[in-house]
């Protein structure tokens, strides 16, 4: 029960923050030096045409009125109409967003699959060669821009060895899994570098604790000790770190889409940017913010499940 109330409160917070973000975006959009009409028509438009378009878009109304209709639209799920595609933004997003979501989930799964074993091995073999090797990776990993790692992976696995497609999204579950693997891996290389360091440290601290000694004294050992006692305690701080990093990870995913020519919102926002398609850029920004807020909420809830000591305030 307490947990439901907690979730409710956090949802409220999510909504408020989203509102703040939308306000921020609205203000920024109206700080543009040129009006939509000018941007759409470019050099070729006559002043009359510009005025006409601006009027059609409601751009010449007082700012408060514009804001009200903007908010009204948001509440109905209307994010405006894309200049580029001449269609509602929400329609465009409906096609592109699933691709990005799939990639994001894939990346998260890979993160977990890679980080936990690496950190555990490094902690168990502390100060041995394996540990040093695993600890050295973040030193290099933090400097590797995702788009470059993606390119390298492309060179090695798609061009030289032809194991994975060199871009684009193949249909079907199998096709999806194959085409999204390298992009997800790109993001995992960076993320796991940071997460592994944190988890390793956390595991080392947990290993020093009395309850691990007690468990070993009971005869608990090996996998059961790691999975039943060490990890549940050790992942908790790393989960917090994941919350903080998540926004950055999504950013990386968006960029990686361009490297691999994936039809997600990352590629879309770049296109939109280049043609000054304000509604589309703004809509995508709002959606990604919502995505991150929801993910943080999920992580927080998971946190309370994992650690019963957390007081649900």
């Amino acid at each position: 029960m307490a947990r439901l109330r907690y979730v409710g409160k956090r949802l409220l917070y999510v909504v408020l923050t989203l509102w703040g973000v939308s306000l921020l975006l609205f203000l920024l959009m109206h700080a543009l030096p040129s009006s939509p009409g000018q941007l759409m028509l470019g050099e070729g438009g006559t002043p009359d045409q510009v005025v006409a378009i601006n009027h059609a878009l409601g751009y010449d109304r007082p700012i408060v009125a514009q804001y009200l209709s903007y908010m009204g639209g948001l509440l109905h799920g209307d994010l405006g109409t894309s200049y580029l595609f001449q269609r509602p933004v929400s329609d465009e997003l409906r096609i592109a967003l699933p691709v990005t979501l799939k990639l994001a989930v894939y990346a998260l799964v890979l993160d977990v699959v890679v980080t936990i074993p690496l950190a555990t091995i490094a902690a168990m073999r502390k100060n041995k060669p394996v540990d040093h090797a695993i600890r050295a990776i973040p030193l290099v990993g933090i400097g590797m821009p995702p788009f470059w790692t993606g390119t390298i992976l492309l060179v090695i696995f798609a061009v030289a060895f032809k194991l994975f497609p060199a871009g684009g999204l193949e249909p079907g579950v199998g096709g999806n899994l194959r085409s999204l693997f390298l992009p997800a891996l790109t993001q995992t290389i960076v993320a796991s570098a940071i997460l592994t360091r944190s988890l390793r440290q956390s595991i080392l601290e947990v290993l020093q604790s009395d309850y691990i000694l007690t468990a070993r004294a009971k005869g608990v050992r090996g996998l059961r000790l790691v999975v039943g006692h060490v990890l549940p305690n050790a992942v908790v701080p790393t989960l917090s770190l994941l919350s903080v990093l998540f926004a950055g990870l999504i950013g990386g995913v968006l960029i990686t889409e361009s490297v691999f020519a994936l039809p997600g919102i990352g590629s879309m926002v770049v296109q939109a940017f280049q043609v000054y398609d304000i509604p589309l850029v703004s809509g995508i920004t709002l959606v990604t913010a919502a995505l991150i807020l929801v993910m943080n909420l999920l992580l927080d809830v998971m946190y309370t499940v994992l650690d019963p000591r957390v007081v649900l305030k």
């Binding site: 973000v21 543009l32 030193l139 590797m144 950013g251 968006l254 490297v259 770049v270 913010a289």
Partner: protein, 296 residues
């Protein structure tokens, strides 16, 4: 993996602590740390030289096109070959430091200053100002920096100056939170109350007493932030945003090279290696600073 599932755990030393504080003599630890520092600083020096002395160090003009010599393989004339317009790759990389590194440093230092200022203010003032600014920080951090950068660049227009400003707006929050946290902790400590009671005014207290203590943390983060900024600039450059061609910029060079991955793969790989090495240098330096701090 057999040792994990079947046998014993590797038990931990009694004298707990990481960073090599085990049953090894002190000297070895110190030597390891200064090795890190020296290597890191060495790497950074190279980059600074590249940026500052580019006209002296680079063999060619980075913008000079020699179409007949396009896509040449590495040779004595062109140590890293030439790109699709015949420009010397090595020179472009060297001049790239002027763009990427300088812009990134400017952005990080700017974000550090802005963030520190706001952090100090909000931490010390408290009240509704604190609450409001913290909400703003939440909002800025909720938007992925990539999309926020795009929005800001739409507003600010193209060019290096807008890029730096946009980066400052995206990056200041971490510093602000860091500083605010330290301020809140220190604020409750006695020596601040003592200073206030002795009659020092608020700005003086901030500058003299709080800043030195919290500033160290900010500067430590600065190293990671610079590499994040370089990555951001290069990512945008890769996408054709921000720094515009024909300026030599590492990210756009990687993009240019992507068309020739099978024949001239180093065109894309080399600039990336340059970024990675910079990251390595910064990481080594900031790591050794961290370890030194822990020992205090």
């Amino acid at each position: 993996m057999t040792s994990i599932t079947d046998g014993e755990l590797q038990p931990q030393p009694l004298a707990a602590g990481d960073g090599g504080i085990d049953a090894t003599p002190d000297g070895a630890i110190r030597r390891r740390r200064s090795a890190k520092l020296i290597v890191g600083l060495g790497i950074l020096c190279i980059y600074v030289i590249m940026a500052v002395l580019a006209p002296v160090v680079a063999p060619y003009n980075p913008l000079a096109q020699q179409i007949p010599d396009a896509l040449a393989h590495p040779s004595l004339h062109h140590l890293l070959g030439t790109d699709q317009l015949g420009r010397d790759v090595l020179s472009r990389i060297i001049y790239g430091a002027r763009v990427d590194l300088v812009a990134a440093t400017a952005a990080s230092v700017g974000a550090c200053m802005v963030g520190t200022l706001i952090g100090l203010l909000t931490g010390y003032a408290g009240g509704w100002l604190d609450v409001a600014l913290t909400r703003v920080m939440d909002m800025v951090q909720t938007i992925p920096s990539f999309t926020l950068l795009l929005v800001l660049l739409l507003v600010l227009g193209p060019g290096a100056r807008s890029l730096v400003i946009a980066l400052i707006v995206t990056h200041w929050v971490v510093y602000a939170r860091l500083i605010r946290g330290s301020v809140l902790t220190l604020r409750s400590q006695d020596f601040i109350s003592a200073a206030w009671l002795a009659g020092l005014r608020v700005p003086r207290i901030l500058l003299r007493h709080l800043l030195p203590n919290v500033g160290r943390q900010a500067v430590t983060y600065l190293a990671s932030d610079i590499i994040l900024a370089v990555t951001a600039i290069a990512s945008l450059g890769y996408l054709g945003i921000g720094i515009q061609p024909p300026t030599a910029e590492w990210g756009s060079m990687i993009n240019d090279g992507q068309d020739f991955l099978s024949s001239n793969w180093w065109l894309s790989v080399a600039p990336g290696v340059v970024v990675v090495l910079l990251g390595l240098g910064l990481a080594l330096v900031s790591d050794s600073f961290n370890e030194r701090k822990d020992r205090l």
